[in-house]
């Protein structure tokens, strides 16, 4: 197979290579422009003739970004809600996925279909009623409320993804352990959970990206500026004196995007299959 495939793919056409170079130049440009501006001194960035190479690279924009009002407070908020969402979505998802893959019981199919349908509900549709329910429950403007909103957003996919990891394990595992006298709980915690660790890690990354990137829910639910998350901070990034400071804003964008980009590069293959299953809501 690989020999045949190499023969077919191994004759790169020069026309295709030229088109690919043009495509890469266009598609990489926004990313390049963000990074380039982030390293350009502020007066140079606001020049009527743009320079395409960072001639006087500087780190001062990153300093500006980090010492911009609210950065540390909002970084802390982002970390609290992201870690909270990951822990709960993965833990609850792990238990539910175990139940939906390693046990047989009536109504299991119905539950699976419900999980899939919940996954389909657009986030914008649940935003308004969640706002009302959280208002009644006193959860608006609290980290707990935001974590709950993120858990509900990511849990269906978390269940679905980890279930596929459980299904890959042979049934003989728990049969043998039970014959040796292990309890159900022991089989789960000592045998099954450690074996689905790769699934737990992949699901954690998906949940992290969803919670870290969210702008709309945090922007709508949080009231106290010091409790905003980084996307909200980033979107309102302005200099107190002269309005928007693009160099600082691009440096802040680089810092904010960095962890997500690292995860994408590491998990690119899993993301392609994961996205098809609805892992990251658009």
């Amino acid at each position: 197979m690989s020999v045949v495939r190499r023969r077919r793919l191994g004759r790169p056409s020069s026309v295709a290579t030229v088109i690919a170079i043009v495509f890469c130049a266009v598609w990489a440009f926004p990313t390049y422009w963000m990074v380039k501006t982030a390293f350009t001194p502020r007066p140079d960035a606001l020049s009527s003739t743009p320079t395409f190479l960072p001639l006087n690279p500087t780190l001062e924009n990153f300093e500006t970004a980090i010492f911009q009002a609210g950065f540390f407070d909002n970084l802390r908020s982002s970390l609290i809600v992201t870690v909270g969402a990951v822990v709960f979505a993965v833990l609850l998802g792990l238990f539910a996925a175990a139940a939906l893959s390693r046990f047989r019981f009536g109504g299991r199919r119905t539950i699976l279909v419900i999980v899939l349908l919940i996954q389909m509900i657009p986030g914008a549709a649940t935003l308004i009623p969640q706002y009302l329910v959280f208002n009644e429950a006193g959860l608006l403007g609290t980290y707990a409320g935001l974590i709950l909103a993120y858990v509900s957003m990511t849990l269906p996919f978390s269940i679905w993804m980890m279930r596929s990891f459980f299904l890959a394990l042979p049934a003989e595992l728990e049969e043998a352990a039970q014959l040796d006298g292990a309890s159900t709980w022991q089989v789960l915690t000592r045998i099954l959970f450690p074996l689905v660790l790769p699934g737990v890690i992949a699901t954690s990354v998906f949940t992290f990206i969803n919670a870290w990137n969210d702008y709309l829910i945090a922007y709508t639910f949080m009231k106290d500026q010091s409790m905003y998350t980084l996307p909200v901070w980033l979107a309102s990034f302005t200099s107190p004196l002269t309005g928007t400071d693009v160099s600082g804003q691009m440096a802040a964008s680089v810092l904010f995007s960095l962890p997500v980009v690292v995860f994408f590069v590491l998990l690119q293959r899993k993301l392609v299959t994961g996205m098809s299953a609805g892992a990251v809501k658009g």
Binding site: R5, A16, L46, L216, S257
Partner: protein, 308 residues
């Protein structure tokens, strides 16, 4: 040891453990997803507004809000805008994505890796950051896009063009932004499928003297059909719900002329604080999306049942 009939799973006979294992996730989904959905349907028939948030007082208005919405010209403008903009986004990103996938099969290994890396970077950028980059690139005065267009000497001096002040230009820049971020997933998914096309079929067609475009149309495309169908449906769902990019680039302006149903609903509910009407709009939007994707939903339900 072999006398006990096998039921496939050793845990098969236990009833309590699965219920206990599912209970936490079930409770959270019931409280934070299911209850709000019921509340949404309920609220859609009430005049819940800013005052109600504090006093908890509101009254039933029956189908009045639906009647108001369906006779509101702004709603219908947003409705049709959402449909055609979604179509433009889906068509643009699918055509480019599928073309890039095919391009990748014609490249040497090194160049293909470069394309993949470029795609992954565009894909990975959080959309809030991407929207800010867009605002900067399209900024009047210092934006690099206006500078480049001016250098082309085709459109005249575009240095001061404000892309946010003109409906067509605002839509163009938002379209470019969303398509830029949507193409990578489509290209990489389609490429993964395209590498699975049996080389013997392509070789046979080539020996029969078929041209490259004809081979692509008659051998490759039919093979890719299920994959393209899947990414198209996912794109419809995602593009229909695009919010951040519109909100951060144009805020739905100028004069609401780029506001899609999502933006229209958000402004009604959280700027006008008319949450009852917002709930009715969200309900209409969700039902519309469900209708558009009903074929896919039916497929999901069937696959959920086949799965076990």
């Amino acid at each position: 040891m072999t006398t006990r009939p096998r039921t496939g799973r050793a845990f098969a006979e236990r009833r309590l453990p699965p219920v206990l294992l599912m209970a936490p996730a079930g409770l959270v989904l019931a409280a934070v997803t299911f209850v709000p959905l019921v509340v949404m349907v309920f609220m859609a028939f009430t005049d819940y507004d800013q005052r109600s948030l504090f006093t908890g007082e509101f009254s039933f208005v029956g189908v009045q809000q639906f009647a108001d919405i369906l006779t509101d010209g702004d709603f219908w403008a947003a409705f049709f805008r959402t449909i055609w903009f979604t179509a433009a986004l889906v068509i643009g990103s699918i055509v480019i994505g599928v073309a890039i996938s095919h391009l990748m099969t014609k490249l040497g290994g090194g160049m293909r890796t470069v394309v993949t890396v470029v795609l992954v970077f565009a894909w990975a950028m959080p959309n809030v950051a991407a929207s800010l980059v867009w605002n900067w690139m399209f900024q009047p005065g210092y934006g690099v896009v206006n500078w480049l267009l001016t250098q082309l000497r085709v459109f005249g001096d575009m240095t001061a063009t404000d892309w946010g002040a003109n409906t067509g230009l605002a839509f163009t820049s938002i379209w470019l932004l969303v398509v830029w971020q949507a193409v990578p997933f489509i290209a990489l998914t389609t490429y993964a499928a395209e590498t699975q096309v049996g080389p013997e079929y392509i070789e046979a067609a080539r020996l029969d003297g078929a041209s490259e475009p004809r081979i692509y149309r008659t051998v490759t495309l039919p093979f890719l059909k299920p994959t393209i169908l899947l990414v198209t449906i996912l794109s419809v769902i995602w593009d229909f719900n695009v919010f951040n990019q519109i909100w951060l680039v144009s805020k739905g302006g100028p004069d609401g002329s780029t506001s899609t149903l999502g933006v229209f609903t958000y402004i009604t509910a959280f700027v006008g604080l008319d949450l009852g009407t917002g709930a009715a709009l969200a309900l209409i939007t969700a039902l519309l999306l469900a209708a558009i994707t009903s074929v896919y939903i039916r497929h999901l339900i069937r696959s959920g049942e086949d799965d076990l």
